[in-house]
């Protein structure tokens, strides 16, 4: 089922006097996994809603699997599977009834819809709960059923809007496994997430958006590089001594969470740090050089910290 990519060019969406999405452009190659990463309210869901024909564009153009979103919306809908931000399944129906309904709506025959539902329930680890009403499901089970519901008919392009928001670590891990298996099947995947770890882990490329604009784009590795070199971390007790020893000797020193952090570092910096500490007789418990996390990349690229959200 290859052959469907996503192209977005100068996409704009305005709600009243608020520009929710402003000149957003990116491409998802057929078979690739792209993560739209950004804080709550960045415009990620609006992009997905525009691409899945739920919202008209106010500017720019977009195509999904070769179908123009504005010109051929039914072509788009026939090429996509959308798993929205909320697990949209009917609570009072069983998992199986939910899946059969979607199969029948998309014109599978009765037997075919039942077979496909059974296959998906097994594949998503829901076989035991298949005939229980969804309201008895855990958050992770609901989310998997939700994703299964959008895969009843195979589509070349899948949109996953915040697939793990609100899940506990176990549920999140299970969802990640499911996404990994989709990716092996070669479908084109566009997912949104507020979790840097998730984007890092699942996506081939990350499009970082903030306040409706693309602020950075690249592979997880490239983004980390764009933030500057590596980070040198020094663990010492008490940290103040180490901080005093390093001030003036190396640039970009700060204390962060009980650690001394030197940003934009390289092998030379490491040597300077060791020398400066020795000069002052400060003993470090640990000195190491690492690549910046995506969290740090986010702050560097957007100028503010990722907002924690209640939802």
């Amino acid at each position: 089922m290859n052959g469907g990519g996503v192209e977005v060019e100068g996409l704009r969406k305005v709600f009243g006097d608020k520009t929710a999405v402003d000149e957003v452009s990116f491409t998802v190659e057929p078979g690739a996994v792209v993560g739209l990463l950004g804080p709550n309210g960045a415009g990620k869901t609006t992009v997905i809603n525009c691409l899945s024909t739920l919202l008209p564009l106010d500017g720019g153009r977009a195509s999904v699997a070769g179908h123009d979103v504005a010109g051929d919306p039914s072509g788009v809908r026939a090429s996509i599977a959308l798993t929205g931000q909320f697990a949209a399944v009917d609570d009072v129906l069983t998992g199986r009834q939910n899946l059969v309904l979607f199969g029948r709506l998309l014109k599978l025959g009765k037997a075919e819809a039942a077979a496909r539902a059974g296959e998906l329930l097994t594949g998503f680890g829901l076989a035991d709960a298949a005939d229980q009403p969804v309201k008895s499901y855990s958050g992770g089970m609901r989310r998997r059923l939700d994703l299964a519901a959008s895969l009843v008919v195979s589509r070349p392009v899948i949109f996953l809007d915040e697939p793990t928001t609100g899940l506990d670590p176990v549920g999140r891990q299970e969802m990640w496994d499911v996404v990994a298996s989709l990716r092996e099947k070669g479908v084109t995947l566009l997912l949104t997430t507020q979790y840097l770890e998730e984007a890092d882990r699942l996506a081939d490329r990350i499009v970082l958006i903030d306040d409706g604009k693309v602020v950075a784009e690249g592979t997880p590795g490239e983004l980390k590089k764009q933030v500057g070199g590596q980070v040198c971390e020094v663990r010492a007790e008490p940290p103040e001594d180490a901080l005093r020893a390093l001030r003036g000797k190396v640039d970009n020193v700060e204390e962060s969470g009980g650690l001394i952090v030197v940003r934009d570092a390289d092998g030379g910096t490491l040597a300077d740090v060791v020398a400066a500490l020795r000069e002052r007789g400060v003993e470090a418990d640990d000195i190491r050089l690492r690549r910046p996390t995506l969290d740090e990349a986010f702050i560097a690229l957007t100028g503010h910290e990722r907002k924690e959200t209640a939802s």
Binding site: Q85, D90, L93
Partner: protein, 259 residues
């Protein structure tokens, strides 16, 4: 897999029917025996006990007068439930899911209307049966009786279009349904539902006479009792056509915007 799943009447009605089945299943959780059977019975006999003697002094056979009012009341209830489910589907993301699915654009609407019609017909059956026990009769033949049912269902669907527009624009089923109760109760009270228009104080009587709920009630009573029916029925249909035009435009707008 290559079958067209969006365009065409076959898809509209096939998918509409599937969604109607889904809606009825969801409704059946909300509709208990008490709301669908016991409440109408309490209303019919309760109002009869309260006003029956009072109005017989004015020469009104209240057992004949009352059931259409309870029917109209229940048609409002059907419409408010429709709004509740519209807002629930919006909140749960179900509506967005249907809209992004390669199904006929109108199937969601057909599914909603069909499910509402089923509820309306059920309610009418219970109320009319209760009315029969109390002394209500269709006096103008089976065709007029059928017209009574059809007009009632059409009224339910007309106001459902309006209430659903509100429901679709909201994500809060509870607040939508309490807002709608605030609108519908005065409309029903200040109509000829429970007492005839000339029983109201003079200053409000013109409002009672010329509002749509009274028009529908007059038409339903004419269909039940016989006598001149064309005038009241045409007046009721005119009101409903006007309301439907406004309501459905609003509902379509809200449907297109709902994500």
């Amino acid at each position: 897999m290559t079958a067209r799943t969006e365009a065409g009447l076959g898809n509209l009605f096939g998918q509409g029917l599937l969604l109607a089945g889904r809606n009825i299943r969801l409704n059946s959780i909300a509709d208990t025996v008490s709301t669908m059977v016991i409440f109408p019975i309490i209303f019919v006999f309760g109002f009869l006990a309260l006003f029956g003697n009072l109005l017989s002094v004015r020469g009104i056979d209240y057992a004949q007068f009352l059931p259409p009012a309870i029917v109209v009341q229940w048609m409002f209830s059907v419409a408010i439930t429709a709004a509740f489910f519209a807002a629930s589907d919006r909140r749960s993301g179900m509506l967005a899911r249907y809209r992004a699915l390669a199904i006929n654009r109108g199937a969601v609407v057909v599914g909603r209307m069909a499910a509402d019609s089923v509820r309306a017909v059920l309610a009418i059956a219970v109320i009319v049966a209760t009315g029969y026990v109390a002394g209500f009769r269709f006096q103008a033949g089976p065709l007029a009786a059928l017209g009574f049912v059809a007009l009632s269902v059409a009224f339910a669907l007309t106001i459902s279009a309006g209430t659903s527009a509100l429901g679709l624009a909201s994500r809060d089923p509870e607040s939508v349904s309490s807002t709608l109760h605030v609108i519908y109760l005065p409309l029903l009270m200040v109509s000829s539902a429970f007492v005839p228009a000339d029983a109201f104080p003079g200053w409000i009587e013109p409002v009672v006479r010329h509002q749509p709920v009274t028009a529908v009630l007059d038409a339903l009573r004419a269909l039940a009792e016989g006598g001149p029916t064309a005038g009241p029925v045409v007046k009721a249909l005119a009101w409903m056509a006007g309301l439907l035009a406004v309501f459905s435009a609003a509902a379509v707008q809200a449907f297109r915007r709902a994500t």
